[in-house]
Structure formats: structure tokens, C-alpha cells
Symmetry: C2
Subunit: 233 residues, 2 copies
DNA sequence: ATCATTAATATGTAGATACATATTATTGTC
DNA sequence: GACAATAATATGTATCTACATATTAATGAT
């Protein structure tokens, strides 16, 4: 009657999750201590700990020292989102990637940039406007600002050939990244750059990165009409 | 000269990440084996393993048995997204939450529903149209379909009082969740329900959940104009 | 009763050891 | 040389032990 192999932490996790699914434990309920669960299932406490850690990361349970483990009362939908380099994204969909530099200048930062970086002082940054193409057609329009203080090397890069997107992601790993999604109506300028009708609804992905509290770059990526962002799973 | 406390796995992770940041190890480079790193830093292999696991989860390195650990050549922007219950979201912003059931009927599923669930057969599901309000004003319009096979209990719930959103999240934990984000132009019907101008750009959050390959619900949440979705961090 | 101090307790973390597993490298056979 | 069998190896997992840490509960002084 004993199981052939011993329990893995994923088995334990699935077992506990199943108990939550089948309402043995309901939102708000307190789970037994790790040690008791371990004894029940016949495994080590560290195995239960590993399982619980995963459930906690997934937002299914909440753990507190001394307080024990509790099924979350207000479960959230928690997912992982991967945003690849645009070139990779296009290629993965079987398209031919293209890139076009539209403008490049050192300018006083726009209000949305200082808002994203929480900067109070007016500052100059490298402002890059570029277009990513899929199969010769506009795919993503990026309005990017790069801190020349944090990433001075970018000034030596020929952005007509290498996209800032790619260079930064390869050469400037970040320690913090904020994302923001929303929809805009294409104004005349944006519409013409993206070859989209004026007024069409466009998904915007705004991303800001820091390295230890020092801003690296912030980008407003305006996607072509019909663009969808998916989680994988 | 020795450190007062011993190294924690987060220290190890930060140390290795710092080496990647300062280009000691570049994208594509192979890192030493866990054991050597452990010896170097003066900690146990399990500590290095824990750190590496985290870096691997974060998409910074790639690990392969026998193959060793490698800095990812094509780093992705990977973040965690939390989507709370709408009521919680409104309340957290200091607003007063309201809810309105617009319609409720058992109907043949719409094409986008069968697409989301990858169903080939025409099926009937519970179709619920509802409006979430913040401070008396339209906030999110949800067009939801619920499988009465997987969640028959929903038929007994008075959806005029309790939102399906809330009931499901509390009573039907899922094992799989797919998300999809895109922008739409408000058509006349949508615009009037959301009290938004016709043609305004709206962010749509589409979410489908399963319990072990059996569809639970899919929802098209159309947000009010100006809505933004953020990652926390 | 109030508040600070102390003890108890459940989770968190580190270390050591042993074995599992996947993948690469090597060896051997034809 | 081609291909299968085998060995070597780096990560993955499980267990036990010991101690750290945060938080609650109990205790004691005022």
C-alpha cells in the first residue's frame, strides 16, 4: 500500500491544493502546521515547507511566523508575464523583423517620463523614437527615453542599426521594472507612423527600468491595431 | 575579516546577479558549478541551489542538468501580475464599490468563448453581463460565460446581489488561468453601458480559467476610459 | 488594569548527506 | 565510421538537524 517512490514537494503541493479545491480547507481556514502535515503524509518538514512556499508565491495561501498558514480569503489572479525582445517576438510568430530609427535627440524629459521615474528635477535624457516592423509592416512604435547618466554607453551605439530595445536588454540588466498597460486612441501622428486609422484603439505597454534606484530607461510602446498580449502557461 | 553572519541564499543570489550586472558574466556565459560557487563563497551547495533557482525563475539564467548554468542570451522582461477582485481593487483606491447585473441567461456560447476554451462543439453556458461601479460610475463592464457543467452551483447564486466575479474567485479555485490584453474601440452598446464616448479606446482584460482541463469561466472585462493596469513591485 | 518582559511556537533558513535524473562524453562493438 | 551501451557529471530533490526570527501568549511588576 505504500507508494513506490517517496513524495516530492510538488506532490505535497498538489495534495494541499486539491484539498483547497475540494473545499476541505476553505478561504480563511487555517492549515495544520508543516510538521503535522509532514507526519500525516509521511515526508520531511522541508518537503512541506517547499510546497507551502510555492503555494504562498502563487498567492493561494498566506504564511506568518508563529501565526501558521492560512488559505487566502481574497485570492488574486496572479500570473507571470514574459515580454520578450520585440525582434524575438516577431520571429517567434514566424514574421520577418524590421527596425527603423525615426529620431534621436537629447532633450528635456517629457512629463510622463519624470512621472514614471518620480523625478522632480527637470533633466535631459536621450530620446529615441523608433519603429519595429513585422513583415515590412509597422508592429510596435516605441517612444523611449534613456538616462545618459546611468547608461552613457548608449551614446556610442548606432541606433540606426541596433535598436535601443535590444542593446539595453542585452547590456543593461535592471534590478527593478515597472509595467503599465492601457489603451489610447491613435492621434494623427501616431496613426501615420503605425499606418493605422486615426482614432483606432491601440494597446500601450509602458515599461520603466532601474538599476538600484537609478533610472535606466522608460519606454512607451504603442502596438499596432489588433495587438494582443498573452500570458503563456 | 570574516563576515559576522553566514551567507543567506538572497546574498548569494544578489552576489551572482551583481556579477551579471557588472559584466563579470555576460549573456551566454557559463557560470561555475554550484559546488564551486559554494566553496568560493563559503556556503553550502543547497544555498547556491536556492539562489540559482530564484535567478532561473526570474529568467536571468538557464540551468540544465549536466549542462550547467548559463546566463540567458535573450533576457525577457518577466514580471508578476496580480489581478484582484474588482471590489477589492475599487476599495483599495479609496472608492465606493457598486455592482449591477445587466443580464443573465443560458445561451449558446459566443465564438470567442469557444476559441478561448478550445471547444469544437457548440455548447450552452451561463452568460452574465454585469457592471462594476466605482463611486457610482461605471468602472468595468464584464461579459462572462460560466460552464454550468463545471460550476453548476452558480445557478443557485443570486447574481443580482453577488457578482459572479466574487463568487467564482471564492468558490471555484482554478488550476489554470490564461490572460489576454488588448484595446478596443467602444461600440455604441459598450459605450452606453460604460457611459463613455463612442469610439473611445478601452483596455480589455480577457481571462479564462480551468480546473484540470475543464473550463470554469471566461470573462471579457472592458475597462472604463483611462483605466491602467500596473505591476506592483 | 496597564504595560513591559519573557516564554512558547510556527515558519524561515542554512548545512550536510545521500540519492535521483537528465544530459554529455566515452567506450566498445560491428 | 556508425551506433549502441556505459560512465561521468551537474543539477534536482529529499531528509535530518540545528538554529534564526517573528509573532503570539503568558507572566510579572507597577
Amino acid at each position: 500500500m505504500t507508494t513506490a517512490t517517496r513524495l516530492s514537494w510538488t506532490d505535497v503541493r498538489d495534495h494541499i491544493r486539491a484539498q483547497i479545491l475540494n473545499r476541505t480547507y476553505r478561504p480563511g481556514d487555517k492549515l495544520p502546521r508543516d510538521e503535522d502535515i509532514a507526519k500525516d503524509l509521511g515526508c520531511a518538514r522541508s518537503t512541506v515547507q517547499r510546497a507551502m512556499q510555492d503555494l504562498s508565491d502563487a498567492g493561494i495561501v498566506e504564511r506568518k511566523r508563529k501565526g501558521g498558514t492560512q488559505v487566502r480569503t481574497d485570492p488574486v489572479t496572479r500570473t507571470t508575464l514574459d515580454i520578450p525582445i520585440t525582434r524575438k517576438e516577431v520571429e517567434q510568430r514566424g514574421g520577418i523583423y524590421g527596425y527603423q530609427l525615426l529620431s534621436r535627440a537629447i532633450e528635456d524629459i517629457a512629463p510622463w517620463v519624470s512621472a514614471n521615474f518620480a523625478l522632480s528635477q527637470p533633466t535631459k535624457m536621450l530620446h529615441v523614437d523608433a519603429l519595429h516592423l513585422a513583415d515590412q509592416r509597422p508592429y510596435i512604435l516605441e517612444d523611449r527615453w534613456i538616462s545618459t547618466e546611468t547608461a552613457p554607453e548608449i551614446l556610442a551605439v548606432d541606433l540606426a542599426i541596433n535598436s535601443a530595445n535590444e542593446w539595453l536588454v542585452r547590456n543593461k540588466p535592471y534590478t527593478r521594472c515597472d509595467l503599465r498597460f492601457y489603451a489610447i486612441e491613435a492621434d494623427r501622428k501616431t496613426a501615420s507612423k503605425l499606418a493605422a486609422p486615426v482614432g483606432s484603439a491601440l494597446l500601450v505597454i509602458e515599461r520603466s527600468t532601474w538599476i538600484d534606484e537609478r533610472p535606466i530607461t522608460t519606454v512607451r510602446a504603442v502596438t499596432k491595431p489588433g495587438y494582443q498580449l498573452l500570458t503563456q502557461n
